[in-house]
Symmetry: D3
Subunit: 268 residues, 6 copies
């Protein structure tokens, strides 16, 4: 598995943490300078995908977008909100390492405040872990409340997104020839496995993809969570149909459409 | 600068986020299983070192220790506590991207609680950013308060350290032939630059090392901080004497002595 | 509009706050005693629906379920999480009165802790405001963390749900003869308006239903939010097709299936 | 007990949550527009009064004032601060469902901030639960600190009150012909019971009024609280002398004098 | 400067902070060992009393009680909750230096947790600042919640009191020959001034006692607070009738009755 | 008990809490008016020093500086951050009474905000407890963030310091004729004991100074802390060489140099 990160990190100018502060300052002064902040999780992804899948995919997607747009990629937030039974398998798995809501929202609030201080006008938060969504929203809202007061001369705009929402029905139809069942059970399943086969093939153990039938959940949550609702493998629907080729297709569309959003979505 | 991370990430079995949860579970069940959690910062390090220096060094040191001890390295906490004039140059630099105390302590508290839930008995937090120290202590204290209540059957021990404290006077004397002036001004200076030359030579711009005289601080802090106390470059004392060879020497000693601490410092 | 609440509040034994503590204590001691906690919002719902729609519907649904199951309805949490452009129109509307994440999660945490102290074993949180969902999850998680420690002899289970998730495709097909476009734009639209016509007809101004075309959102959020993305009325898709009869159909199915969940979803 | 809320909610134009946002916006733009926010509790009130007494009375009083002044009534905050032995009987009673200080203060802070955003200039917080008082103060103080920064163009004034403080010695003398013993033991006693007989007669069980002698407390609190200090019924002094007629007298004076305060207490 | 604390602290054995930890440990092991924790404020007290009056009186009372009971006095919490117009004059005065609710409650919570760790079974919190009351309650409640979990083997009891509540009607009648008008306006007035003349005569400027008539407040609060409601001196009713002799009488009764409470109020 | 505070507080005009608010207001209006805020701890200091040593020394130093500069001394913050094994002996000692990070930072934040409201331009926080340092920094940073928004017309500057950092190598050489071993083990050792002999000789028990060899710590922390690393006395290195004469020398230099810093360190 040597060289795992080689292709990912091939261009130092993408990565904010690899720039000196003077280089970063120069980059940020461009009127359309954009920073992409990947947010992931450390969460079980079945026997065939690594714990860091969400952060690795959010980072890889962000890098692809940065290559196309000249944006910078900030270091990822690697620890995400608590895994839920119905979208990530739940907190009972060993290895899943999660944070409380206040921690994640606080991390984002502080980052938003700091990027505004730098004079950055465009920040895009690229989320790879479904459970993070609303705590990112809270963090951004609180961060911009601070910014409005502390840096009123700045006009930081923050874009927030889950990368999979950029997939078109056409592409999903191509990837799921028997019909796309929706994102609900797509944890460690076809989309994530294909993307990992595309971005980090050495990190995927195709031979260990489990054969469990898709999970079937009632229209409510129960707490304490019910591990029995989830296959013991942690996979919510089969990843058997995953392939690197599908991953390429998915990655290509996400990168292209997200890059377009980064180019056109911010106000001048 | 292709391959920046190649040598660092050469052995997937070091990295917790590259393991599946089942592999991690197996690893954690060993009685002396240890996880190393690097904590860094995104902070100006002069014109010659990248913003991510503290996280990169804490991670590199942790990886070296992991190779020697069989420990795992968790994903780094990449955003650190607010930079202070007298140790990191201060918060007025563009690019420095910091968090409030509650955020950092909360992140550590949550991580400690989660690692205890995994059944891990040995966690070592490897700090690379001086300003983080006391908020790591608070996070660990609050985390273990939770663990005692929520996971009383577990006996997680947490080691906490700054990697440079493992350097012996002998080595410091070798690296500073004219006498070691102490760690106070070692921000973006000889030690960090040498270590970066050792671990990430492509990320160092030797040609840009500034020539400022060492900073001279009064025995107190002033708030709002005084940017005028700090050289405009952000470097607190000259890195001119840095070399990859010194970096190797420093890295070797830190790794060897820290590995010894990891082996012998935890109670059975 | 006299008697607005008459039919709703016709049976005092449904309402926890109308019982004396001794009556409540008796009720709670039954082994399958259940409390339903409605959570709503005070949020614009277009020119034709009242600000309290979400709380009124969550409460009405809870009352219907209580009538069928013998459960009790606790006083609603009437203030919800901040309205988002793409699901509730956003925070720029006059009248929308929202709380921060910590407030809502704290309210739920405290309630969970208290119900456990009462000896209650079954609590169902009936959500009527989409934006609340994840902060309810956080509140329940933190509340049960407290309960595990403070009331270890208790075994409170918490069910959490959005009432509309109990609608079957068959019913949605009946209500939307031209095809159900999904819940995304169902803010102040056909489902909510029909349910209000069923439960609180006097509170609906059919003559004021706006004629705006459905909102069309990009696959990302922008902050500060963009009011221009939302029709000035605050309605995300037309409510013209709403009717009391559809409301009855929707209400009936939600009540029946939610009652079934309350009966069978909790562990013995 | 049908029609419990009929008389209370007879005029939809009183209730903020029954208005559309456009109607509310129109109302709020009047220069003397006032919103009344009732705050109560869910707390034991003896065998003869319901758990929701404090919220029901604060809401009923607010409605009476609104009818006289044209003010609006916002949805009540139904969950109050923890019941104390010497004023509410204490937290050991089943049914009492309370919140921590931070929750209540946070709820009020957020509401104050939101009403200021609406452009409201006059907010009156009508408290019906003694224990809430200081946390309302903290919530208002923090909310106005936010308002001063976030909405400096607004000049929201907040009135805060306990409704019983508007009773004159004359009226108290009439209600207590043998001398008013002070408010200290007036929990579920003559004043609250009389008011409930006036506002919600169906919710009072006169036959269950206990005959305990008045509680007698030392001049200090003890924690953990001492349930033995409180009569098992939860009533701190006898409600036997309560009557609907006294309730009418009390309600009339409170409403009249509070309406006068609302009219004259705010600055132009 | 020898003997700096000698006369103040005439009996070193009263003051916890003057004991070594070993002496303290011995003292605390006695079965009826009691610690008194004074809580005050730094708040305007008119032209004739010092800013520290509340802390000085709470401490002096605690010392008197300690002398009679063998209890220890812990260092005072010197900064109190925000001054309110109607009881302390308000926050607009220069010199008043107050804390937010969370700060005060947190300070008390932490202290309660620590005293329980010491094995102390009896803690009495002696309050000298009216505004502190409810935040002390919250701090004790949260502290004992922690103690129950973290130190379940301990059975710390906490007494909480305002010292003036120990005055009998007889004494108040003696001090106020024309009738005691109640504690409401007793800020920097007869009771506090007399007690200061008794305990700290050098700190009282009798010649500066203002002649303002008593403040007259409506039965509600207004926020932002109305400085015009308060005499410019900050004194809510005249202290002219104060005397050292009255102070002695008041101090004697408080000390004697509070000592009795400390002796008999804790459970064995 | 007349004159209780007289000798301690030999010069009432030093102590902020002994001034009336009008006197304080006058003092604060001077352009170079300075307030010194001592921060200490209640922490074991071996068998020979009292628990309050840190607060007593910070206060005594502040008073010496105030006498030389005309500054005022605010009431000390007497409870400090949790004692650490390697600098204060640790939290396992009876008598050590500490606060969490959020409490201490909150106390400082609130104080900073209040002093700015007073119009004060110069605040110096004089720390006597090593563990407090970073939480003071956080409190000041958050406080000044508030001040910038709430009191933008003010320009409060905050100086922060540990008093021992004002000692020169010359004086340390005089006090430690065999070489100064550094501050690391100076807990309850020569410096603190000498200063206490100078300021509070009656509070020192020379006969109880233990004879333990200096503690020897590894270059890392362990949590839960290891009491076995610390001598049972709590003293980290011997205080045998302490003397009142050394105390005078130390106190003199600290006071003189700190007074100079107070005079010259603030911007005009």
């Amino acid at each position: 598995m040597a060289g795992l990160f080689t292709s990912l990190r091939d261009d130092a100018s993408l990565w904010m943490d690899h720039l000196s502060w003077l280089d970063y300052e120069r980059r940020v002064q461009a009127p359309d300078a954009t920073v992409l902040l990947p947010v992931g999780a450390l969460e079980q992804h079945g026997p065939h995908l690594p714990l860091g899948t969400d952060a690795m995919l959010a980072t890889a997607v962000a890098a692809d977008v940065a290559r196309r747009t000249g944006a910078l990629v900030a270091p990822p937030i690697s620890y995400g909100y608590k895994s839920q039974i119905k979208c990530g398998g739940g907190q009972h798995f060993c290895g899943t390492t999660s944070v409380d809501a206040a921690t994640l929202a606080g991390q984002v609030r502080d980052a938003v405040r700091e990027f505004a201080r730098h004079g950055l006008r465009r920040l895009a938060i690229v989320n790879g872990h479904y459970e993070n969504q609303w705590f990112l929203i809270e963090g951004i809202d609180l961060g911009l409340r601070d910014v409005r007061l502390l840096h009123p001369q700045h006009d930081l705009q923050v874009m927030r997104l889950e990368y999979w929402d950029f997939l078109t029905p056409q592409t999903l139809a191509a990837v799921f020839p028997q019909g796309f069942p929706g994102f609900a059970l797509e944890h460690a399943a076809v989309i994530e496995t294909s993307l990992m086969l595309h971005y980090h093939p050495d990190a995927v153990r195709l031979d260990l993809i489990p054969d469990d039938p898709p999970a079937d959940f009632p229209p409510y949550d129960m707490f304490p969570p019910r591990p029995a609702w989830v296959p013991p493998s942690g996979v919510l629907s089969s990843a058997r149909a995953a392939s690197a080729e599908k991953g390429r297709l998915l990655a290509e569309e996400v990168a292209q459409r997200l890059a377009e959003a980064v180019r056109s979505g911010f106000a001048r």
